[in-house]
Subunit: 343 residues, 2 copies
DNA sequence: TCGCACTTATGAATCGTTTCAATTTCTTGT
DNA sequence: ACAAGAAATTGAAACGATTCATAAGTGCGA
């Protein structure tokens, strides 16, 4: 059924080796031959079989990317950045989501290993990195995304989450809030823990400020809504006057719940800060103050480090790239609605 | 370096054929042998080489999915649905975005063809489907996603866009609007044309209603914002009193522009209807009335049809699955903000 | 005319898995 | 104890592209 190099070779009156050369290093083939073979390729609709190519070559020309949540615009942007950088160097990106389940994470890594991907970019769920060590030992370079490599044993691209958490909480304190709620989870996610850590640092530096932690089961709009209703129903003497959500999806859900409930006003009764600064944070009912992370850049840089590491081979230098977060202040912490927003 | 079936066979004292059987049909191998071989596999950290598998098998166990815009939550949801259904049957989904460029579309299809994917799911950009015919002729089943197959030559999963456009415009007319603007593009996208068609039908059925068309360069938030500013600056006698945007991203952008500009109120001065009903439509500054499409279901169903078609082989029955759209009315066309929204 | 260097082309070996016809081993009933 | 049939195992062939050592062809100066 399918046409192979052999068919092309026969039809063009050359050997298979020559066809392969026309495909991969035309400069070593006589121009006339190149033309003739290409004509036959065209005529027969020959399409290279990537599996055979890969089998012989040992490695594929794809990177595997494991994100925490494929439906979160933040990770979409990372993926986008990674794809575009990879494409520039002739690579493809296979993306999969672990969706807060380390079982899924394992499955994806197994899958990528079977595919002999040229490298794995991962925003790991667990603190246990042994699987990643094993992966690298078997010859697959690994780069951590949106997560630093504490001991510098992996290349990584991350944003300083402790600093981000700190600036979020500090901002709430600066606008006069004292009963702050941190909403985030699952705690397995390092990013969440770091943001909380930063917030705690800011709060404990102020005598009369308190930080109450609400654990979320996932970083989703739905979960945010659930918790938002819970908050809205608290008696006013138990209710926080500010919320710092571990990501924008949660923040959006919380905001929805508060609006639907209707008894509280944002930011008057409750101020709200999110994290990631996804596009939709600025266009929500009340535009949400959020900690910005350069998602597309993170994706691009991760692939960049990957390419370097793949090039260098065994004795690769591990690079840790850390971006600085930036607070985007909007109506949910006090800027009047309708006023020109910060960019 | 890497362990192969041969190594496992040697170590376990069996033939390679038996190792393969343990991997693929353990029921034909004696239980004791299965155990022994599996132990060796475990011990040596053997990982199947998918390329070799595929080469021998002729086809990969992945489907290729081409969407119009990977960062649009609507397509994210389709992807999500497709992934989850595919996984249930042991398949993987490779997703790529054409981003309004038929060049990208071609590149992706070429890539998928080289990979010998088990099938291609595509939301095609162009009306010219010859590439898809060729693809199918070469043995790759094709299913159209979010787009009907007019002549029933392909299996497809779509939503009745004409009906959707009609109900959107009809709703605007019902709430008393007469100067309606349709904002959408590029016109190459069939979905956009159909939605416009539906809107035109609704408008032309009412004597004093008019429909003005603004062509967008892309279906993005940014483009929506550009057009939104344009609208906001029109003198009141030239300004539409209602906008029907071809998707929610555009609608969101338009809304942002109007809010930033600050001279107009939604829905009082301009009512707004979007399309797709992405999660973020209901949590925007003014919750947006939108035409709902069951995105996750579309993805799942597309893979379902794909599986059937792949199973049936040559003489496959082409099925056209058409979902009905549903109007979700929210504040941007009049429901008081804060009131409980429709679900 | 010969020899040397250089350009082209060749085709067998290779990658690692799966398949399947052939062979060996095990059960059973008599 | 033996034949017949079932169960388990074997190993060579095949998938299709790439590589590389080798061979064939060309040009040119002596």
């Amino acid at each position: 059924m399918a046409i192979s190099v052999r068919d092309v070779a026969r039809e063009a009156g050359v050997s298979v080796g020559t066809v392969s050369n026309v495909l991969n290093r035309p400069e070593v083939v006589a121009p006339a031959t190149v033309t003739r073979v290409q004509a036959v390729i065209e005529r027969l609709d020959f399409v290279r079989n990537d599996a055979a190519r890969q089998l012989r070559g040992g490695r594929s020309r794809s990177f595997g990317l494991v994100v925490l949540d494929a439906r979160n615009p933040f990770f979409m942007d990372i993926t986008h950045g990674a794809q575009s950088r990879a494409l520039e160097s002739g690579y493809t990106v296979l993306m999969g989501a672990s969706d807060d389940s380390s079982h899924n994470e394992q499955r994806l890594l197994d899958l990528f290993e079977e595919q002999r991907v040229a490298g794995v970019l991962i925003s790991p769920l667990q603190t246990d990195l042994s699987r990643l060590w094993k992966l690298r030992d078997s010859g697959t370079p690994v780069v951590m995304v949106d997560r630093g490599s504490g001991d510098r044993s992996f290349s990584s691209v991350s944003v300083d989450d402790v600093a981000g958490g700190l600036m979020a909480a500090q901002h709430l304190i600066d606008i006069g809030r004292r009963r702050i709620a941190f909403i985030g989870g699952p705690v397995e996610i390092e990013q969440v823990r770091h943001r909380l850590e930063g917030a705690q640092a800011a709060v404990s530096a102020v005598g009369d400020a308190t930080l109450e932690v609400f654990t979320a089961r996932s970083l989703s709009v739905l979960e945010g809504r659930r918790i938002g209703f819970e908050l809205a129903q608290l008696p006013s003497n138990k209710r926080p006057d500010a919320v710092f959500a571990a990501n924008d999806l949660l923040a959006l859900g919380i905001l929805q719940a508060i609006m639907i409930d209707g008894t509280l006003r944002v930011p008057d009764d409750i101020a709200l800060v999110g994290y990631d600064d996804i596009d939709f944070a600025r266009s929500s009912i009340v535009p949400i103050t959020s900690v910005r992370q350069p998602a597309v850049e993170i994706g691009r840089t991760a692939v960049e480090l990957m390419l370097r590491e793949a090039q260098a081979g065994e004795d690769a230098v591990r690079e840790q790239f850390v971006f600085a977060p930036k607070l985007m202040v909007r109506a949910s912490t006090g800027i009047a609605p309708g006023a020109t927003e910060q960019h």
